[in-house]
């Protein structure tokens, strides 16, 4: 079979869930519907007043999974605001290597909208 040079993806839309559902998935008991990491990422796609404080809360909460905290850092970086940068700087001393790597990545100036570049 000839290899085609096309690719297609599958995605999930933030509008699939209400803000309340996503916040419950992140801050409530373990959700059966979606992972906390995905809920954090979808909160990052929503526009609402408490977004920065929600993401900061996840990032700093050692009780959250490192996947959720990593995603919170990346989403704060994507907000591209001085308040979000301040929240990230506040978290720069986080002990977990994986989460801290996301904080440092999110603080990089002129990063593209998606995050890191691959090492080749």
């Amino acid at each position: 079979m000839e290899t085609e040079s096309r690719k297609q993806s599958i995605s999930i839309d933030a509008d699939t869930f209400t803000l309340e559902e996503l916040r419950a998935a992140v801050f409530g008991d373990d959700s059966e519907r979606l992972s906390k990491m995905l809920a954090v990422q979808l909160l990052g796609r929503k526009d609402y007043p408490e977004k920065l404080s929600d993401l900061r809360r996840v990032l700093l909460d050692e009780g959250q999974s490192i996947r959720a905290r990593h995603s919170a850092a990346i989403e704060l970086g994507r907000m591209n605001s001085s308040e979000a940068a301040a929240a990230l700087r506040e978290a720069a001393g986080i002990r977990d290597d994986f989460v801290r790597s996301a904080v440092l990545l999110a603080l990089q100036p002129q990063r593209d909208s998606s995050g890191t570049k691959p090492e080749k």
């Binding site: 079979m1 000839e2 290899t3 085609e4 040079s5 096309r6 690719k7 297609q8 993806s9 599958i10 995605s11 999930i12 839309d13 933030a14 509008d15 699939t16 869930f17 959700s31 059966e32 519907r33 979606l34 992972s35 990491m37 995905l38 990422q41 979808l42 796609r45 929503k46 490192i66 996947r67 990593h70 995603s71 990346i74 989403e75 994507r78 994986f98 790597s101 996301a102 990545l105 593209d112 909208s113 998606s114 995050g115 890191t116 570049k117 691959p118 090492e119 080749k120």
Partner: protein, 246 residues
């Protein structure tokens, strides 16, 4: 009844074979829980009988594997369980499932995927050179969908490369899927394997190839005969095993 050894040999397993981890491909060496609360049931006899059908093999490559928890492994095991059910609809079996592990120390930072370039790199760096479809699972992936408020759960080449072939560096050389919850992960891997096997997106929300995951991903589990015909033409589809049953 056919000998287990003969069935194992047909899918490339030799020596002492673990039924759970090698015949079924379960990383945790036990049957996963079904998140709906139903008891997940597997049958050795049914699995071996299914190997008489056309089939594809899978390589599941966990990147940043030392970060994966038991719960993540169970998500992947549940996915394999669901994948068998979904592809059985079109008479195609999931044959040998082999698990590969890329620890953080060797992952070159790709335990996190934030760009499509990073996805491409991953699929070239760690693609397994055998006749299986390589499905890469980064520990975290976060790529916003262009032109919307969504996030990408997985991506694949449509009609992926055959055994011994590689795509250009600028293309995906395998499927990439992030773990995003039991049903979401199962839906996303079933979808991306479908793309690899040549399937395009479909408009029917209950079809595996619908392009977005809704709030009830378990519903999107259908494949039709036309899609089955496309799948059966792919170069990584293997002939069924010649097994006799009494």
């Amino acid at each position: 009844m056919t000998s287990l050894k003969r069935a194992f040999a047909c899918i490339g397993l030799e020596g002492n074979v673990s039924v759970c981890s090698q015949l079924f491909g379960f990383r945790r060496k036990k049957v996963p829980l079904d998140p709906t609360g139903a008891i997940a049931k597997v049958s050795i006899r049914q699995q071996i009988q299914s190997l008489r059908n056309l089939q594809f093999n899978l390589n599941i490559i966990a990147v940043g594997s030392d970060l994966f928890s038991d719960g993540h492994d169970m998500q992947l095991d549940y996915t394999i369980y669901r994948l068998r059910q979904i592809y059985a609809q079109v008479g195609v079996a999931v044959g040998c499932v082999q698990n590969y592990y890329v620890p953080v120390a060797e992952a070159l930072g790709h335990q996190y995927i934030g760009t499509e370039d990073a996805m491409k790199f991953m699929t070239h760096k760690w693609r397994v050179a055998n006749d299986g479809i390589s499905v890469f699972i980064p520990f975290v992936m976060s790529i916003p969908r262009e032109g919307g408020s969504g996030t990408i759960l997985g991506k694949s080449p449509v009609g992926g490369p055959c055994e011994g072939e590689n795509t250009d560096d600028d293309e995906l050389n395998g499927s990439v899927v992030v773990m995003s919850g039991d049903e979401q992960t199962a839906a996303a891997i079933a979808h991306e394997v479908g793309h690899y096997l040549g399937l395009e997106h479909r408009d029917e929300p209950n079809n595996v190839m619908f392009p977005t995951v809704g709030s009830n991903p378990r519903q999107r589990s259908q494949l039709n005969e036309e899609q089955g015909e496309t799948i059966r033409q792919h170069c990584l589809i293997r002939a069924g095993c010649l097994l006799l049953f009494s």
